[in-house]
Symmetry: C2
Subunit: 229 residues, 2 copies
């Protein structure tokens, strides 16, 4: 790869467990761009992080390129396509396909917001899930399943923009299933198969926790937020 | 303009008062693209609207191009740049400037969400604003003011992507001021001047309500949502 494309001037202000930071790491891996990752402690953010994303109070991820910050995961993904045009693109070239990819990448983040309504409750998974939260989560997952259709990836045969945006949440499917009391394989078989397919990919496997670990961390996080029962 | 760029196969599923639909109409006007607008009744959405944006329950705006739907206002703006490359671009060409524009366009939508916390309350503007909602709104407006800096437009000398994304909310500034009990001219003089500058632009004037009308409609809407006091 040419020097200008080496990515050696890329620094990621990172949190390994953040699905949004994972999007960026997976994209960098898919593009073969070298970067330096700096793990941030969200309870004690670095001055650099605060200075780099003041509008959002120092939210991760931030990608510094030659010292200039780019914030928000999907903005960073587009930036990588724009700034490193010699690397494999995430977005397709056709205008309509690009618009569809942007729409579904944004939509994929919804699953995570619905998920919180299932697992961030004091009574935890011993109790029945809140019916409305469960229904909303299933609707979102089924919508993604229908969009995927019979394809290998959201990008078709190639792992692309929507796949990168959605795949960090695939590791959360187990957590959604257990808290929502449903089975992905029954409700969204295509999406479940997609998740398994993506998990075997190097760029994904190296950058996300396995589903069981996400589940355990969510239990710990819930206890930390809500306190002991 | 060439036939392929005439935009005569563009249909906007529209709500005149929607700031998100306004973004699209302003962009179409700036690009000189002809289109047909179909005003939707949100209480009785057309089948076409429901079919065109099922994932979001038939949210407006939807732009149909040769019958194919594009949803979400910022996705539509990018689509117009991609699909009509001979029209004046909204986004800059420099990769870093594009990323910044995407970030701030997304951020501009925050003002509207904060605004709801100020005006969608039963006790209305007779009561003191909720201190946290007021502080959050001022923080967002001051952040936008600082980003604008001394420039004519967010896009610099040209009215661009962030301006189109933010300008529908400029008509709401009066509503924010009255419900939040602050004066834009004092708190954010640059942003207030930008709003006045944009309001004189044909593409804007033709596609948004004047501030006083927004204010009156918000009062009516609040009464409709919350019922009489």
């Amino acid at each position: 790869m040419a020097g200008a494309e080496s990515g050696s001037d890329l620094v990621l202000l990172d949190v390994f467990a953040s699905p949004y930071a994972q999007r960026v790491r997976i994209a960098l891996a898919e593009k073969g761009l070298a970067y330096e990752s700096t793990e941030e402690d969200l309870a004690a953010k670095s001055d650099l992080l605060r200075r780099s994303n003041p509008a959002h109070g120092g939210k991760v991820p931030v990608l510094l390129h030659a010292g200039r910050p780019v914030c928000e995961s999907l903005v960073i993904l587009e930036y990588l396509d724009d700034a490193f045009p010699a690397t494999p693109p995430l977005l397709p070239t056709d205008p309509y396909a690009r618009a569809q990819a942007r729409f579904w990448a944004e939509y994929a983040g919804r699953a995570h917001l619905c998920g919180k309504r299932l697992w961030l409750r004091r009574d935890g998974e011993e109790a029945e899930p809140e019916p409305e939260a469960r229904a909303e989560m299933l609707a979102v997952l089924r919508t993604l399943d229908a969009e995927l259709g019979g394809r290998e990836f959201f990008g078709g045969e190639a792992f692309g923009f929507v796949d990168v945006a959605a795949v960090p949440f695939a590791s959360w499917f187990l957590t959604y299933e257990r808290h929502g009391r449903f089975a992905m394989a029954e409700e969204c078989p295509g999406l479940a198969a997609w998740a398994a397919r993506c998990a075997r990919r190097d760029s994904v496997a190296a950058n996300v926790y396995p589903p069981e670990k996400v589940y355990q961390r969510v239990l710990e996080y819930r206890q930390w937020v809500l306190g002991p029962k």
